[in-house]
Amino acid sequence: MAVSRVSLSSITQGFPKSRSFLDGNSAYIPSSFESIATATGTGSNTTITFSSIPSTYKHLQIRSIFKDSTSSTSSQYLYINFNSNTSVNNYSWHNLKGNGTNASASGVASGTSIIKIENAGASDPGFPTKTIPNIYGVSIIDILDYASSTKNKTLRAISGTDVNNAIANYGGIVLNSGLWLSTSAITSITLTNPDGSTFMSGSTFALYGITG
């Protein structure tokens, strides 16, 4: 049986018919990579929180571009907690970093209350601050199997900043890993600017869900 679509013109000119239920429209293909929420730097916020994260995805990804409001050019990092859990001994982290001169590694094997995301250089500077115009640091954070009730949660991140040598020994490329010693499903993620300075306007943190 043919499919008929009712419109004003169909009433005045007769019903157009189609052999397809799509009737010339494009098929809807559900995405396997969905945008859940986006948070932005306001110039006055020191934390970014994604809460009420649905458990319906398989993995999460946070894509971010941000700058710190401090006037300092020294270290700026991101600290990450899950489900507002800041208890000591619940996290560990490691990284492999290149500052343009040396490759090095650091980490905390146990007994820490956060996962630290670095973006380090020779003097261990981190993400760019407002002293460097037009340049933002970037990061991609992946959290696999975040809703599992049987697995501790593992995070992987790649982060980087290049400043074209605008400041000596500044910037770098870093691979980060982190562990949350909890089998609870992740329902919230908090990213904190640890020195109390704020995320500048133009900073954006986008949370995506990946279906499995």
Binding site: G100, V163, N165, G172, I173
Partner: protein
């Protein structure tokens, strides 16, 4: 629901070529991601660089982290003519390169994260790179250049648009 991760264009080379270009990139996404499966016609390992909006001036820079199976190292280059995408392997293997370009249509300088996996069964490299393009213009085209030899037949590049809420 709007598509969040959308393939914009794909190119598979039917013959060797020195470059692959994606042009007329719409400004409607948040980030871009390029995935390249490639092989070089060079006798030894090749490389890949990228340029935006036909800009061949020294408006780029990058910082690199490399592992070559023996040692980890890092290097930095300022005022370059392209961003760096990593290595490309020789026949009969294929390398994987990704380039994530953040806020490509925004009004600040453009930062890209690149990864390169190039293993040749006895040699090879893994790279992670951050590149900067010192331009506040929206990116409307991306050109991938083979730095040694050409991209071989069968090399495939896809550009995706990622859209935040």
């Amino acid at each position: 629901m709007a598509q969040t991760y959308t393939p914009i264009a794909t190119t598979t080379l039917g013959s060797a070529a020195s470059s692959i270009t994606f042009s007329s990139i719409p400004s409607t996404y948040t980030d871009l991601r390029i995935v390249l499966i490639s092989q070089t016609t060079n006798a030894t390992t090749g490389g890949m660089e990228f340029q935006f909006n036909s800009d061949t001036a020294t408006n780029y820079s990058y910082t690199r982290l490399r592992g070559n199976g023996t040692a980890a190292s890092s290097s930095q280059s300022a005022n370059t003519t392209a961003g760096y995408g990593g290595y490309v392997v020789i026949s009969s293997n294929w390398s994987m390169n990704t380039i994530d370009i953040f806020s490509y249509a925004g009004s600040t300088y453009k930062t890209a994260l690149s990864t390169s996996a190039a293993d040749q069964n006895g040699s090879g490299d893994v790279w992670n790179i951050v590149s900067l393009w010192r331009s506040t213009s929206a990116i409307t085209s991306v050109k991938l250049n083979s730095t040694l030899g050409n991209f071989a037949t069968g090399t495939t590049a896809t550009i995706y648009g990622i859209l935040k809420a």
